[in-house]
Symmetry: C2
Subunit: 561 residues, 2 copies
């Protein structure tokens, strides 16, 4: 049996780690007020794997033996737990399904290649055996990019990249690192840090997501404002295909036709298995600060972020939360940390005296990196803009707390699910001129959806990334589930996705498409745009064995060639 | 007859404008020494259009009438001059061929749609009539992206975008401008400037190249270091296809699968006709400076540019010339301007005294934009780095001259062609760690090629764009032509392109692929990479009517569907 470790089959993260509210006194009253949920109620029982009815593996012996001949018997796994772990990602929809034992199609076999050569032989074998290949990195996907198609009659192989986590080469003269695609965030960051470098890519899923997964889903990270999205960071890549390796060398910029690099980025396994990525890396900055600011309203915060994006400053992080999320953040602070307790009370009293409506308060974080003088220079520019929009700097304390806790948020979803509530996230990006309308439209749509199904719901938002022409709005929504929580979730999620498009946003800024967002692709990039993409995906995989059904749902099986 | 104006059929730019050396006293001796050419010799006669043997138009009456029904008779042109103008771009190979009357396949008809709706009807008609569509912008292409395939038996329509040059919409709240793709640089920049904005995209071809052409060939401009390549600037686009319009909305960043936006960028007409582009624009900067610096060698200059790219400064231009190009630049200065004459002599004496080898001197330009304080801030950072690498600031004079003359360089090629020499350019990009080797390899390859064909040749180079991980090296080469100048050119050009790849560079940083660079595509992006791209192009154009044969040469005609 392989020794690659995975997240819990039923939830986020590692066994024994979870969200706790006992040390956050404001949390329980906050949730009670927000959605009427009593978080002090005893949690439901932890799901038992024994209760699941796992379909048997349909892998033919020839396939299993063929795989074992490539990677060794230990690295070919057909047991139920492993196969269930590889069935879904970690969206709340995935968690609800796996906890409920809804497993219409489970991979038949999980294989752990040691290197690219083994991956290549596996993909070639799959082509020969007419088996489906679904690449698997950290398993943190929340767009349905990992699940086999429901009616798939061919054997399904989950190709787990968990043994390929090494930094292979560091070109210090160019700041380019060639890294195996199975490396999780901490794996690669540690190997880079040890040599004085950083990738500067920190998605919320960082601890449990892989480099290959970031590329496959067009990920962004907390510091993408400065370091770029993964589409910018990933300069070169190697993609395992049935007939060989597609290699895009790490060239800083090229005019060699339609960008194949940008076809592989976001391909979610449909063009092949991303095996290695050469990423832009940076020497660790001399100084790194995250400063917190308060704005009198979310609108004022948005305007300030816009002006910062047009300014001569180039902060690493620009983030501002709406009033609801700001309230939530303050409520989840620990008693002893950040802006809670007495300090918070004092500050609030001061703001009230200055005429602020505290119900509208918007919490913001701005990150700065570089030499000490560059950090000072940028803070000065930003400070001026913040003040112009009525904002106020509140120091580095809350920022440090945010920085330290940012990877823990996903655990909250399991905590709520254990107590009868579903929480998930959806994010979009739109031009600055449309952002306020996107925000208003989405909030209205979510609340309309809650009303229509008669549940008590909540939606909050922050601007998470700024670009010169627009920004990403990141929504978190939660509701107390009723009879049929998956159907309820679908109503809410659909309303939010549709409202993104209706208000001029994209259906996803950095979570990918998978099957969850595929329905809106024609509305997002137009039917003719989808036709172009369909042509790419179908022509690159005439046998339809490379993670079929993702990104574009109704892919037609091409006639035999 | 349409009133859209074009460049000379036999050369660059407008009639009556050309390169003159009489006011540049150092030029003639420089050329004499470099390649043994006497530029005082009388120029050859201006080519006469009467001497050309232009193949007759093969457009069937049904097609011509159909086009006239769409755009009006005035905008459908089949006369020889118009058709010849639309046969080639302006590479030196194009100019040599057209001057020699080598016209194996000339478009049969040129059509000037007034708007997107007319373009749409034209493309649909072409599909119906089985005619080839080649989109035409400013006609400045130098990669062979405009010529019809030699053996094309179907009618060929050149779709000229020259009547579609308007700024359609300016979203000042987001800095996004929707512009018709036929707008030439000056058209769109003027419309933007009038409202206080700039696109910040200034390729050397600016005066005679179009927005659609920039996107179709993945152009970069002089200020791309700051504003990005056209792939970054072009946020949204509309593409006319036989069955409708593919519309990519201007979203700041999206994770909606393989990027169709990045498939259209660089597509050179093979996916359809780019009709409108929504570009990122910027308020005109308060201050704009181009400072000149001298380095004791090109290597020192490269090292400084690398360090600048890693620094906290973000200049708009980073440019450094090798010793040969620096000598050439100083030799083409007018007596009264820039660093020529007495001032130059004095400076050189000073440097010599400081121990510089003046034969190795490398001239550099760095551009700064932003608020006055930001310009100062950046200059301080850059100044320190320049000094660290032994460089010296020489003020804004030469920079102003460069800025003013940068669009005139292409005229020099006609001047030389008139006098028995061929000059052209090739550019590449590579990681910083490989740049010196790319440079050495290319110079050696070019000189080897000159030797092998027994011509007297010259090659010079500048770094034209910096990125975090590497840079663009831009080579200009010239030689005194012998018996068969096109064959000689092909030997030299091929040697240079092959050396790009051999040393780890790309075959083109910003001139596109066309047919001139297509041979090296498999070496650049790997055979499997080309296979993916081929699938995209073939599936998007099963009828093979959209500028066939470009980017990938051996595109197979797919079986009838």
């Amino acid at each position: 049996m392989t020794d690659v470790k995975h997240m819990k089959w039923w939830g986020w993260g590692v066994e024994g780690v979870g969200f706790h509210h006992e040390d956050k006194p404001a949390f329980a009253p906050f949730v009670k007020k927000a959605v009427g949920l009593d978080v002090w109620q005893p949690a439901g029982e932890q799901p038992s794997f024994e209760d699941l009815d796992v379909p048997a593996s349909q892998a033919p012996a020839s396939l299993v033996q063929g795989l074992a001949a490539i990677v060794g018997e230990k690295q070919v796994v057909t047991d139920d737990l492993e196969r269930v772990i590889h069935t879904y990602g970690k969206s709340i929809r995935d968690l609800m399904r796996v906890r409920a034992g809804i497993l219409p199609r489970v991979p038949d076999v999980v294989v752990y290649p040691a290197d690219e050569a083994e991956s290549q032989r596996i993909v070639a074998l799959a082509a020969q055996e007419d088996a489906v290949i679904i690449p698997f990195g950290g398993g943190s996907n929340i767009s349905g990019s990992l699940e086999p198609e429901k009616g798939e009659t061919r054997p399904v192989v989950s190709l787990d990249m968990g043994r390929q986590r090494r930094l292979l080469e560091l070109d210090e003269g160019s700041g380019l690192a060639r890294i195996q695609a199975g490396a999780l965030g901490p794996d690669l960051e540690k190997q880079l840090n040890d040599r004085g470098w950083t990738i500067g890519h920190f998605p919320d899923s960082f601890t449990h997501s892989s480099l290959g997964g970031w590329v496959a889903t067009r990920s962004s990270g907390a510091q993408s404002d400065k370091y770029g999205d993964i589409a910018d960071i990933a300069r070169g890549m190697r993609l395992v295909r049935p007939d060989g390796i597609a290699e895009i060398r790490a060239i800083p910029s090229a005019s060699t036709g339609p960008s194949v690099r940008e076809m592989i980025v976001g391909s979610e396994g449909r063009l092949g298995v991303i095996s290695e990525v050469t990423v832009q890396v940076h020497r660790r900055p001399e100084e790194r600060q995250i400063q917190a600011y308060f704005f009198p309203s979310f609108s004022a915060g948005l305007k300030a972020m816009h002006e910062i994006s047009e300014s001569d400053a180039s902060p690493s992080i620009t983030r501002v939360s709406d009033a609801r999320e700001s309230g939530f953040s303050l409520a989840t602070s620990k008693e002893s940390k950040g802006l809670s307790g007495a300090a918070q009370k004092g500050l609030m009293a001061f703001l009230k005296k200055r005429g602020w409506n505290l119900d509208e308060l918007a919490l913001s974080f701005i990150g700065y990196e570089g030499s000490p003088s560059h950090v000072r220079y940028q803070k000065r520019i930003v400070g001026k803009i913040v003040r112009k929009h009525g904002g106020l700097g509140v120091g580095a304390g809350p920022g440090a707390l945010y920085d330290q806790k940012k990877f823990d948020t996903p655990y909250l979803r399991d905590f709520l699910l254990d107590r009868g509530a579903a929480a998930d996230v959806s994010e979009t990006a739109a031009p600055w001129s449309k952002l306020q309308d996107v925000y208003d439209t989405v909030v209205k749509a979510a609340n309309g959806a809650y009303d229509s199904i008669g549940v008590s719901g909540w939606i909050m938002c922050h601007l998470s990334h700024s670009y010169r022409s627009g920004a990403c709005l990141y929504f978190t929504f939660a509701f107390v589930t009723g009879e049929d929580k998956i159907a309820e979730y679908d109503v809410v999620k659909s309303a939010i996705q549709q409202s993104f498009i209706d208000a001029g946003g994209t259906l996803s800024h950095h979570h990918g498409v998978g099957v969850e967002h595929a329905l809106w692709m024609e509305q997002d990039i137009s039917p003719e745009g989808v036709a172009i993409m369909r042509g790419l995906l179908e022509s690159a995989d005439p046998q339809r064995i490379l993670n079929p059904g993702k990104i574009i749902t109704d892919v037609r099986v091409p006639e035999a060639r």
